[in-house]
């Protein structure tokens, strides 16, 4: 796949899309990043950390 074909999959040179809710206006891109941060934060809290059990057993 050429670079041009690859770039055509996700065109970034178009106008931005926005979400409106009352006085709140946010671009879809920014909204997606915030959702991803919240999801990553929650996963970081609940996902098991490698070697944690072994470390506890050693103590």
């Amino acid at each position: 796949m050429s670079a041009t074909q690859f770039a055509a999959l996700l065109p970034l040179n178009t106008l931005g899309h926005y979400l409106h809710w009352h006085f709140i206006q946010i671009s879809v891109a920014n909204f997606v990043v915030i959702v991803l941060m919240v999801v990553t934060f929650v996963i970081a809290l609940v996902a098991p950390f490698p070697g944690r059990r072994r470390r506890k057993e050693n103590q």
């Binding site: 990043v33 941060m37 934060f41 996963i43 970081a44 809290l45 070697g51």
Partner: protein, 208 residues
């Protein structure tokens, strides 16, 4: 030089003070407490790693100047590295901030660690904004003309002119990165001095 003279030297006193405050085994510890083995603790070091790439890719861009990336595919690649490392930097820093906020990481005499983190965050936002207006394209022109109204409303426009490409570039590549790196270094040293904040059911006070 007598023993007393050596004892009174400012270099001797400063070294002793540093070693007392931050002995080598505390500066580069072999182990960490068990509670640190959680994914929420990796975002601080992710931010640090991203900062290294931000500075390295920015230095690469500085070699050929701010317009290089418009005309060279290598320059464009360096610019993309700079952009995406900044994205990761802020992504990880915000999660690090949320984690530390809910841990109340200022407990146990760690207020200065928290405050240096906050100031580093604000400095980084300034570095990002001056980066937006240093892109040398229509996007930066649009952003700077919008920003000047906001800055002028504060009265700071006479000293901090967002339409002045030279001034903005200097703030972006010298003053703000210098402040961010120095503050980050201070923040990390304070974490080493005071230790990582423990969970709420453990005593928060550090034995420093």
């Amino acid at each position: 030089m007598s023993y007393t003279d050596i004892e009174r030297q400012w270099t001797t006193r400063l070294r002793r003070r540093f070693v007392h405050l931050l002995p080598p085994e505390k500066l580069l510890p072999d182990t960490q407490p068990t509670y640190v083995s959680s994914w929420i603790y990796v975002f601080g070091v992710t931010t640090l790693a991203a900062l290294v790439v931000v500075i390295a890719s920015g230095s690469l861009l500085a070699i050929r100047g701010p317009q290089w990336w418009h005309t060279s595919s290598v320059g464009h690649f360096a610019n993309s590295l700079h952009l995406w490392s900044v994205e990761i930097f802020f992504f990880a820093m915000v999660i690090h901030l949320w984690g530390k906020y809910f841990m109340a990481a200022w407990r146990g005499g760690r207020a200065l660690t928290w405050m240096t983190g906050v100031v580093t965050f604000l400095t980084s936002i300034g570095a990002a904004f001056t980066g937006y207006v240093s892109q040398t394209n229509f996007d930066s022109q649009w952003i700077s003309t919008q920003a000047k109204d906001g800055i002028n409303a504060t009265g700071a426009g006479a000293y901090f002119n967002v339409l002045d490409m030279g001034q903005m570039l200097m703030w972006h590549i010298v003053l703000l990165p210098l402040a961010a790196v120095v503050l980050t270094g201070l923040h990390v040293l304070l974490v080493r001095v005071k230790g990582v904040v423990p969970p709420f059911d453990e005593p928060a006070k550090v034995n420093a």
